[in-house]
């Protein structure tokens, strides 16, 4: 039986015999009694197992180490001790798998750095039980939101030969032997010998392919891994991460913001409802104020303001900015922070200078800005980035040329504007960025089961 089932239906199992399988998280031994802090991973809460010296196996059980896997039989009873309402009075314990005393996950507070080095074991600790259950539940929340709104989930390809982001940002893949690379007549490596007969990459976005499917199903979303080669060691960068990229036909920038706001509130609410215990733990031990932050978000109205007006506000603030706000430039972290505090809540910043945004975004009638939108969230920074897409065939070709995009590899994408194109919009949300926000954990390495960062590819 799962501990989750037991704790959810206490009245049903009270004073009855139960059989549990799981692990010893802690073991307190007294002369006449023993107390096992027991968890099976099916829920955040543990349950206490109590055994006494009347058991013939008392001496044997007292030897069981922390970390061991056991099967325990006993009666669920009201606890007479402090610290828990219920406990299991054990009649029998079987040792399923021993655990030596050099077990790294001893019941004490470990540093995040230490636990990262033990990535295959760290999900056994309270903190990472909470984090990775929230990760699973938040993933489900995203699927529930989009599926219940009739979006089609599209598995866009990870392998691509379209180098439209610049190959310096993408991992190259190959089946060739690095030490035996054949050369072509110009002396370059002959990629035609590779499995796809040419150079291929693993991708950093599913957006382009997503657009093709939005032109078929109206509303689609992707949710899958993406890759960046950035050689950047910060708290928010990883070389492998998961992205959600919805794309919606017949949707303009305002419609997009409606969807972003509704989706985010749905996901936060879903996690608050399904992960109450985990959020309570994280609120207490990881980020005090976490629950208040999340609850406030659900109840806030998101502000919508143009990049131009944001710069006005920044300039009027009389603050001596490290980076001077500019109508033609991106805004800095210090500006993001100020503007969400200024509006005391999440802010959609719209209509960005076109030269700092992607080539496929829709140009506004001022010819200076594009219909892009970034969502700035207090305590999270930029959580989503999206835009209405350029749907004019001639304009997107001109823009692609101006930005040195290779039209040969995106001809099909451009053709979507030719064959029944329509106004449409989409956004991307980094799943780990959302998780940092949801859990209060600061480092991206601590919300990914087995993180990959420069120089770091363990397990």
């Amino acid at each position: 039986m799962d501990v989750k089932e037991l704790l959810q239906k206490i009245e049903l199992y009270l004073n009855k015999e139960v059989i549990l399988q799981g692990w010893i998280r802690n073991h307190r031994k007294q002369k006449e009694f023993g107390f096992i802090d027991f968890s099976d991973g099916t829920c955040f809460n543990h349950i206490q197992l109590v055994y006494d010296s009347k058991l013939s196996s008392f001496d044997e059980i007292q030897k069981y180490h922390i970390g061991s896997a056991i099967e325990a039989k006993g009666i669920l009873v009201k606890s007479e001790g402090a610290g828990q309402d219920y406990e299991v009075k054990v009649s029998e314990i079987k040792l399923l798998g021993d655990c030596p005393e050099d077990y790294p996950m001893q019941p004490k507070r470990h540093s995040d750095e230490f636990l990262r080095e033990q990535a295959y074991l760290r999900a056994r600790t309270n903190k990472y039980q909470a984090v990775f259950r929230v990760r699973s539940v938040a993933a489900m929340a995203i699927h529930e939101y989009f599926q219940s709104h009739n979006y089609v989930y599209v598995h866009t390809p990870l392998i691509t030969t379209a180098d439209c982001e610049g190959s310096n940002q993408m991992f190259k893949i190959t089946t060739l032997d690095f030490n035996k690379l054949a050369k072509d007549k110009d002396g370059n490596v002959d990629m035609s010998k590779d499995l796809f007969n040419k150079l291929a990459f693993i991708t950093g976005t599913g957006q382009l392919h997503g657009e093709a499917y939005a032109m078929s199903f109206k509303k689609i979303y992707t949710f899958g891994p993406t890759f960046r080669t950035e050689n950047s060691n910060t708290k928010t960068h990883a070389n492998e991460f998961w992205m959600i990229e919805p794309e919606i036909a017949f949707c303009d920038l305002n419609g997009l913001m409606d969807i972003e706001e509704e989706m985010l509130k749905f996901v936060v609410n879903y996690v608050l409802e399904k992960c109450d215990t985990e959020i309570t733990f994280l609120d207490k031990w990881v980020q005090p104020g976490l629950r208040e932050k999340l609850t406030k978000l659900i109840n806030s109205k998101f502000t919508r303001i143009s990049h131009h007006d944001v710069v006005d506000i920044l300039n009027k603030s009389n603050i001596n900015w490290e980076f001077k706000p500019s109508y033609d430039d991106d805004i800095a972290k210090e500006h993001e922070k100020y503007i969400t505090e200024y509006f005391n809540g999440p802010v959609f910043i719209t209509n960005w200078p076109k030269d700092i945004k992607a080539w496929y975004m829709k140009e506004n009638s001022d010819h200076k800005t594009v219909a892009a939108v970034d969502l700035e969230v207090p305590g999270a920074g930029e959580l989503m980035g999206g835009s209405q897409r350029e749907d004019d065939y001639e304009k997107i070709i001109k823009r692609a040329k101006d930005m040195n995009v290779d039209l040969d590899v995106v001809d099909w994408f451009v053709n979507l504007r030719k064959y029944g194109g329509c106004y449409h919009s989409g956004f991307g949300m980094g799943f780990e960025r959302l998780l940092i926000y949801l859990t209060g954990v600061e480092n991206i390495r601590d919300v990914i089961p087995f993180p990959r960062t420069p120089g770091n590819c363990l397990y």
Copy 2:
């Protein structure tokens, strides 16, 4: 408004004005009337738009091409014509995006081969509308099954430096320039210059990492892309595909089969319920008998039989097999087919000869077989493969050595047996193989939005 909403709530919208946005799938023009076969991709069904010559824009609308994006305003009425119960009597149509007459998706029957070459457009056809909605719904069914049974969804890493499957089966990845590879002192390429300071791959399985998480959360599943470098051009091989890999602690082989059977029936039932129209279409045009096949599966009891007993049955059959059945060897496609017909339903084949199965599978007490199980399904072949895992630390080390597995890269995986190991089991299911079964489509290239196969990496 979505066509799906309109068709679901006909009574609510009947004789009312509606505004629809979508695409012209077909356009039949008469002197006094025009009929537009209209779809917005929100559901499989189209709706007919009727306009007549009283409209001042009649001549203009008659020029609209197939494939064009339009916005139509009109009244939902009962249809007087044959072929549909309802239609929209148009008062106004706006052209949102034209479509030239060279549009490849003309309303006629196209070959699958032709449509593969138009992968970015093919989801606009009836067949691929059905297939890719089933794909989306089946993906959700899998999440629903596991989440409702309290499994934790784990995003196992795709990038790995663990070459435990043999690097000839995995794509290598690199950030190095193929034409400027630095050499080490032995004259080999110096992979320490790469982003992870060593050779890395994209993975073919999440199982190993999944096991680590099963030892933390008891029940976990993965659902993500996997990669194989196989240079194989068959109907069932692709170089990129999606896999589901559940892993369950305190679960033996029988428990595993219970889960496989329950999950598969859940998913099939879910798709039958949510994709009734799509299945009806696929049953009629792609695989006659599809619905009956799926319904039969839900109501069948899956047989459980050992590999040894299967070989006995094959040998007693008096059939002149192309491949002679053997107690020590794999079974062939012809055997799979025979055995599912023999039992008239799905068959779990258990306890396989250990030498043809993976190194981490649990050895049975006969020392000849392992506690592996393949699920054979009529019309699908092998749909899932799983096993109880070897949980004995000494045995798995010995087995790894015997099978030339590099223990340096799987030391952490082996250590799971040392630190509170327990009996546990897991299986893998190729998502595309499931989709081939669910849709009746024969070729894996036709259930993947943008398939990747040897020499083929378009879009």
